[in-house]
């Protein structure tokens, strides 16, 4: 993957930006997310988190298996303010 490849399509974050975040001190998926917004978009990281894990593994010289996905945040699926307010979503 070259540095211009987009990893997080929702927030348009590239491989290069993720590598930069790792150089600045990110050591896990959450650290990358907070520094780059990768995984903060509409899909909440469903598409990109595994790729972020691979980049972390490669840059930090560790096996992919040591990395965990970011904490899942409610709601599991996007829900409108209207539905949430009515309490009809769990």
């Amino acid at each position: 993957m070259d540095d211009d490849t987009i990893v997080c399509r929702c927030e348009e974050v590239t491989v290069g930006e993720i590598k930069q975040a790792i150089r600045e001190g990110a050591v896990d998926v959450t650290g990358v997310k907070r520094r780059t917004r990768a995984g903060m978009g509409l899909c909440q990281g469903r598409t990109c988190e595994k790729i972020v894990m691979r980049i972390l593994a490669q840059e930090l010289g560790k096996p992919v298996s040591v990395f965990e996905l970011a904490t899942v945040r409610t709601p599991v699926q996007p829900v409108t303010f209207g539905l949430l307010a009515e309490g009809s979503h769990d």
């Binding site: 600045e24 907070r34 949430l84 307010a85």
Partner: protein
């Protein structure tokens, strides 16, 4: 690991990072220890307000105004995009019952030197056209601003590091060490002993536990607050909007708001904040439930309902995420920025509840001044640790 610094700062949130930044700028050799990644506690689970409008008129709002001025300088000296914007903020006056209290609040803040305006009637909807049609007024503070809190921390830490600070993430402070006469001489950490004769404890809600290692009682309690994140969408308002009733949930008292009991039980008050990325945040809640950071779905529902009362047009916009953070509450809503009288060399900078982002610049600067024995930029008497003992 044994390393000597002039000062050890415990806590890599916004307060500890600001203290580290200001000390490093003065040439002081600082070691910052943080048990996780920097910006991973309360500073990663908040919003990014720099507000004077919701501070008590007088000392509290003056200090914030000073902090806003420092922040303007900071944005130029940090080589990092912290997404700072200064668009002002408004408080929405819901009905006639709140009008007099709101006009008094406006008058007192204006007298205290804040750039305030009161908008009524038609002016309200010229200013924010998508607000519910039955609200009656807006109180505006033009100096209010916002930023990305995590980027702010990264920017402070990054700049401090380049000025010589040593930053130790994933290093937990377990005990403050004293010499034979009781003066601070270092910190025991999960990665070894560190020496310094000054220590700043800036660990937010986790401050009391560390202070207890030297027998110091700190009156800070975790107060949980939730935030909803909306998808990128057309903005329902162009800048920060809070319901006037937020002041009631912040300072206590439930008079003057016509809401269901559940709203008051969880301290629900509408807070809207647009972000630089086209999303917006919705708060707020306040609960004392210990150190539990999990989101309570019922609270999120109430927050969504309250948001719709002021912004009915967001009904079909999606909530994509939610989070909860622990705000370091003190009984008088002022932080503790103070030397510890019983432990020479130990300082505390914590207890900012929901104002930590906004007060970080002034807190960092004043703590640095205290340590260097310089006159402080603001009077710090109201921020003393021992004020609760009297």
């Amino acid at each position: 690991m044994t390393s000597a610094a002039d000062v050890i700062v415990i806590g890599g949130g916004v307060i500890g990072s600001a203290v580290t930044y200001y000390l490093s700028r003065e040439g002081v050799k600082v070691s910052l220890v943080e048990r996780g990644d920097v910006a991973s506690g309360t500073s990663s689970a908040c919003d990014g307000n720099i507000l004077a409008i919701d501070k008590m008129p007088g000392y509290d709002s003056q200090v914030t105004l000073k902090s806003q001025q420092l922040l303007t300088e900071l944005t130029e000296s940090l080589d990092y995009d912290i997404e700072y914007t200064q668009r002002g903020s408004v408080l929405v006056v819901e009905d006639e019952n709140q009008e007099q209290v709101a006009r008094d609040w406006f008058a007192r803040q204006k007298e205290a030197g804040l750039p305030m305006r009161y908008l009524a009637g038609k002016e309200v909807f010229e200013d924010e056209p998508l607000l519910a049609r039955d609200v009656v007024g807006l109180v505006e503070c033009a100096s209010d601003a916002s930023l990305n809190p995590m980027a702010f921390v990264y920017g402070l830490v990054d700049t401090a590091r380049r000025a010589g600070a040593m930053v130790h993430p994933f290093t937990e402070a377990t005990e403050i060490l004293r010499d034979s006469v009781g003066t601070v001489c270092g910190v025991e950490t999960t990665r070894g002993t560190m020496s310094a004769n000054k220590v700043v404890l800036a660990a937010g809600v986790w401050t009391p536990a560390i202070a207890a290692s030297v027998g110091v009682n700190v009156r800070i309690e975790p107060r949980k607050g939730h935030i909803l994140v909306a998808e990128r969408s057309p903005r329902p308002a162009r800048r920060k909007v809070q319901e006037f009733g937020y002041l009631l949930t912040k300072f206590g008292g439930t008079e003057g708001r016509n809401v269901e009991a559940e709203m008051d039980r969880y301290g629900i008050a509408m807070v809207f904040e647009p972000t630089e990325h086209g999303n917006f945040l919705i708060g707020s809640s306040r609960e004392f439930v210990g150190f539990d950071r999990c989101c309570n779905h019922h609270v999120l529902e109430l927050m969504a309902r309250r948001a719709l009362r002021f912004f009915p047009r967001i009904r079909d916009i999606h909530v994509i995420r939610s989070y909860a953070g622990l705000r370091p509450y003190t009984p008088d809503h002022l932080p503790i920025v103070s030397p510890v009288p019983t432990v020479p060399g130990l300082y505390i900078a914590a207890g900012h509840e929901g104002d930590g982002i906004g007060l970080a610049p002034i807190t960092g600067k004043v703590t640095s001044e205290m340590i260097l024995g310089e006159p402080t930029s603001i009077t710090t008497e109201p921020l003393r640790l021992d004020r609760f003992d009297q």
